[in-house]
Symmetry: C2
Subunit: 723 residues, 2 copies
């Protein structure tokens, strides 16, 4: 077996390429691809393949790959889709292991295309090949030893160190044009198209240890294998920044995405959780994607989030300060020593507090000395330097002076904000810069925020998925019994019992079916208690008066029980009654909620946040894909606004954060163990005013019947009656 | 008296300018300003003034304005600050009514500067002059009949129809450079500097009926006279868009702003409320400010918010859809007729649903036909047309084709998203375009959102500040009595009584001082009731057990009262007790809050939102400057997330929105009538589950003692004892 590197090298670093479908006909892909490979001076051999033979773009053409005598690493396929399968057969016969199928007409076109693509995948797997596409723009490698432009974008590629994966071919082409303008070059580009074989994950893994690739950019409309993406990306993002633009966020956008690529765009909440847990920096527009890439291109990862601003004009200094604060960064406290040094050469009207305003008269020498002084300050982690044009000072000279100083301090990020003519930026794009320059302060602040985000991710301890000792047997037998009765929805008692079997702190309770049992339970739990009916026929208990709270004594408890029975009898609901749950009454006014939502593509997704009537209105909830690591659980709790309530706002008792974390982790273990659980809510998870514990006061579990029956061995054959 | 127009015309449309402090010395303002006026070909006369006389920049120099024989409209003053006052005297002697003082060294420099500026203002007022500055960059008018560049920015101004006011001189200069690059010209520019006389409001009013100005852009760090700004801007913004960048949002930014401009930057919440109530479009970065200006430059105000997207590539279509939805716009439903027409010429693989994907092969003809078809669809209010470069299609040709069609449909906004090389945009900037073009879809969607915001503002009925018939006498006598006892903080009873005097629905209640009164009150209000102590010494009643709820009978009421007395006695707090309030117990679990916060600069600011323990955590509150119009009150209620709760989420009774509106309006009237009210809270304003009314269950009012005493006639002399 070849390693992934060996396999992908055949495609991305080939020594020889066969262009199957090469052509002399102008404005065809078969002709353009040939021209591109030659124009960009591919360092290996090119074999045009065309059934007519002859000469194509000045090279001898072969009627089939089989006719070529030398070995071929990569077949770039542009023939009509109906010839693709037979071409693959020939490639196999020739011993070709790398394919890039540009040809469209597969699963993106409907039923027949889906079938054709299925056959294509089978062939590739059978032959042990790797394949980019189909329905893609091609592949590019700008490494001087390779120089492969196997792609039909408008521009020739710009050399650099970005690894770029695009799910949209056309967009990929558009981006290549823009990148060139932005002076953002890339090392490799893979247009993954329909992702029949190679997808974003494959590319990430391939680039993980490739020194030519410093950062990875992804344009995605769907994530094929979320679990694998998470595994790889969370590892690789600790070494190199991964930036992603995931389109199809809105319902309308997702529906457009699905019609367009033939792959279902997962719910955006799930995608967001996944990217977050994977340490991927998510951008929401191409503009921001490129701006961030530009920052990572030259900036080191800072040691902290304290920003100093140096300016020659007050207004932009204020705007930069606003932006720094709004992006959650700190304004650095300039040390007294630094201030003193600054005062020694800046004019009296200058301000040596952060933002440091050198005032409009600042000559280049002040820019140099100020930057040099501030960058050496230990209280400063990152710097924004602002320039506004004043008479007698040239933007490009100031930029060069800043870059000179910056070169002496490679460990601290410095970003230039030059509010000057666009000519300045054109000039820069022909230069070798060691720091990024933007027109506006907000862009600089956003860039620093991204650097800091990456720092936090790198510093974040590697999360662990704990495995608690739980009573699986009990949990399974409860679910088994419900399934035997063909109930997908567990009763409250069953739900709570399953949670308890997984070690989740539920409120003390017991089940009773007659008045004497009720009274004895109440006495053993201790008052006040709550009484809740459980019924196989009535799931909304409160609507029928089935919940009685704050019962203070045995006497009251007996009276409430008798009253419940008579009310149910009146309504004709007595038959469904199983009994009542007597629960300790947990006091507290902080109602949290946790549970899962199941996304068809991403699997179970954990939810945590503020419960009660506010769930839908405030939407103060957060999501993570299960299974959770301990770090994920910590993040979840901290990321809701209601965290302040948990901390103990207004003199309430602080919640036991670790116990709540553990609740989430145990829940995660539960839904990972039983993937057939479709819905699960703990609502409320009440924070006890007495102990600060999160206590599951009510629970609701629903399974997917068929899946659950199969998993728990309830369907041994297809007859449906044996168990 | 001259009208404002006549006064400002002296400065902005002068026939003659004296440059006081003109110079031949290179790189001085006195030399640069002279050069600029001449280079830009000022259509009037220029008189350089310099004590040395002679010739300056080729013109005869005068030793003083008095030496000039002709009349002078505007004196551009650049002399040292110590000569400014005497210069003003001379200007007055000469009969000059317009000043633009570029000179710095006034209130921005500290105590002495503040004094100097005070004298300057006195002189201007005495002489009946109007003045721009001091400490500013100057003034510009690009009208061909004027051609005045009285400003020392790096670039010559670009002709256009923006009126631009900048509080930061340097920034103003920077912006002029950028505007030119963006092909955004302006009609007039005023660098207001320290705003000793002329400020943003003056400019808005001056431009209100000036046909040369189509839209107004403001860069502000503070708003000098919020009430006047609101009055003018809310009127003018209905005629022409007003876009503002208000810097100093963050606490750090505001502190930088105040050190820099010498004017206190108001709290950002107040500024935000003010801009919102004034119909001003607030932008948060220069980049967005200019992008929006570019959109308003060529786009009409749409009829609605339904957007159609036309694209030749799927990915960007999805991104545009995401952005359209995220900016709160609607994706238009393309009519069946339109779809049919589109299908008649687009290839089978194209999608005629919105986003309309013409696919990569789309020739110019398809762009034209598709735009023409879609723009005529009555379901479509605005259009984004996306172009990605494909072989054989030139960006500029596509743009021209689109503009041709657009010219036939002037009433619908169309924005082009051209993901192409920056050369395209440079080319455009030399052309006369009739629609905006951006590189990215998000920019286009944001632009459309701004157009729609302006549409909504224009369509919003003119708000009215109602004047309710209230019992001022009662309110005043309550406050008077508290003040007589030197209490700035009113008791609960007093607070509630003041609210009731202003017709606010408070819960039924009465005051009792002994058990018999308590019992009789309870019986007349009807059970259940709440009992609350009122005390002059204890303001946090709940902490001492002074609030008893859900009292069901006379018997229980008597018992609770006796219990309260004994508890207070134990704690030694019985002496402060005034009595108890017996209140109807309003049932409902929707706790809102309303009240005021007083901003030192903006005055009383109304607050409304979700109350209870969630105020600080959720911060689901909104602010508006008092007095409120009926429209403001409506907006407030709708703009909090908890509005959904009020609408009746989860089967609760819908709240009486109009009654809550009226509560806010009456409260606004109260705090407008008595400006000395410093704090006022109704918390909770409970929504009755029975009637849906908002009922003030608890209230708290605090006044500013000295101000209040004066206003209510409690201090007739300085002795402090007579009243």
């Amino acid at each position: 077996m070849m390693s992934l590197k060996e396999q992908l090298d055949k495609i991305m670093c080939p020594k020889s390429i066969a262009v199957v479908g090469a052509s002399n006909k102008e404005h065809t892909i078969g002709s353009d691809i040939m021209k591109r490979l030659q124009e960009y001076k591919f360092t290996g051999k090119i074999y045009p393949i065309n059934p007519k033979g002859g000469e194509i773009q000045g090279l001898k053409a072969y009627t089939s790959v089989l006719e070529v005598e030398d070995s071929i690493d990569l077949a770039l396929i542009v023939v009509n889709s109906k010839f693709v399968l037979s071409t693959i057969d020939q490639c196999n016969e020739k011993g070709i292991k790398g394919l890039c199928i540009i040809t469209a007409g597969f699963k993106e076109t409907g039923k027949e295309g889906v079938e054709l693509e299925k056959q294509l995948v089978e062939k590739i797997n059978e032959y042990g090949m790797r394949c980019v596409g189909p329905n893609c723009l091609g592949v590019v490698n700008t490494n001087p030893e390779i120089r492969m432009d196997g792609c039909f974008a408008e521009s020739l590629p710009e050399r650099g160190h970005i690894g770029f994966v695009s799910q949209s071919g056309a967009l990929g082409g558009g981006i290549l044009n823009i990148l060139k303008d932005l002076n953002l070059g890339f090392a490799q580009f893979i247009s993954i198209g329909n992702q029949a074989d190679i997808n974003a994950e494959t590319a990430l893994e391939y680039w993980e240890n490739d020194d030519d690739v410093d950062q990875m950019l992804l344009y995605m409309e769907s994530i094929q294998n979320p679990a694998n993406f998470r595994k790889l990306a969370s590892r690789i993002s600790k070494k190199k920044p991964i930036l992603a633009l995931k389109a199809g966020r809105s319902a309308a956008g997702a529906s457009a995405a699905s019609s367009h690529t033939g792959s279902l765009a997962g719910a955006d909440k799930a995608a967001n959780a996944l990217l977050q847990q994977s340490g991927v920096i998510r951008e929401y527009s191409l503009k921001n994607l490129f701006a961030t890439a530009k920052v990572f291109k030259t900036c080191p990862i800072p040691k902290g989030n304290r920003v100093a601003i140096i300016t020659n004009s007050g207004g932009p200094g204020i705007m930069a300060t606003d932006a720094v604060c709004e992006y959650g960064l700190q304004m650095a406290k300039i040390s007294d020593e630094t201030k003193e040094t600054l005062r020694s050469f800046l004019p009296a009207a200058a301000s040596v507090k952060n933002p440091i305003d050198m005032i409009a008269s600042a000559p280049i020498e002040h820019y140099k000395q100020t930057l040099k002084t501030v960058i050496a300050d230990e209280n400063v982690d990152m710097i924004i330097t602002i320039y506004l044009p004043f008479l007698g000072l040239k933007d490009i000279d100031v930029a060069q002076a800043l870059m000179e100083i910056k070169a002496e301090y490679p460990e601290k990020p410095v970003i230039g904000v030059f509010m000057t003519k666009s000519e300045f930026f054109s000039k820069l794009s022909d230069m070798d810069v060691n720091m990024p320059f933007f027109m506006y302060a907000e862009e600089a602040a956003e860039g620093l925020m991204r650097l800091d985000q990456q720092r936090q991710w790198i510093e974040r301890p590697e999360g662990k998925i704990p495995c608690y000792d739980v009573d699986r047997k009990k949990a399974e037998s409860i679910m088994y019994n419900a399934l035997k009765e063909d109930r997908a929805q567990l009763t409250t008692r069953e739900s709570i019992d399953v949670l308890e079997a997984y070690g989740i702190r539920v409120c003390k309770s017991g089940f009773a079916t007659n008045e004497e049992e009720v009274a004895s339970l109440g006495n053993s739990i201790g008052y006040p208690v709550v009484m809740k009916m459980t019924s196989k026929t009535t799931s909304h208990k409160t609507d029928v008066g089935g919940v009685r709270v704050n019962i203070q004594s045995e006497e009251q408890l007996r009276a409430e029980y008798r009253d419940l029975l008579s009310k149910l009898e009146e309504k004709g609901l007595l038959d469904g009654l199983e009994g009542v749950i007597i629960q300790e009454m947990v006091k507290g006014n902080r109602e949290m909620v946790c549970g899962i939502a199941t996304d068809p593509q991403y699997g179970p997704m954990m939810m945590f946040g503020l419960g009660g009537v506010f769930i839908e209105v405030m939407k103060d909830v957060t999501f993570r894909i299960a299974p959770l690591t301990d770090m994920d659980a910590k993040d979840m709790i901290k990321s809701v606004k209601a965290y302040k309530l948990l901390e103990g706002a207004r003199g309430t008792k602080p919640a036991q954060m670790e116990q709540i974390e553990e609740t989430l982790l145990r829940l995660s273990q539960l839904v990972s163990d039983y993937k057939f659980i479709d819905e699960l809510d703990i609502n409320p998870l009440l924070i006890s005013e007495k102990t600060g514990e999160g206590i599951a006061v009510d629970g609701r579990i629903k399974v997917r019947m068929e899946e659950a029956k199969e998993a728990l061995g309830l369907t041994c054959c297809a007859c449906g009656s044996c168990n």
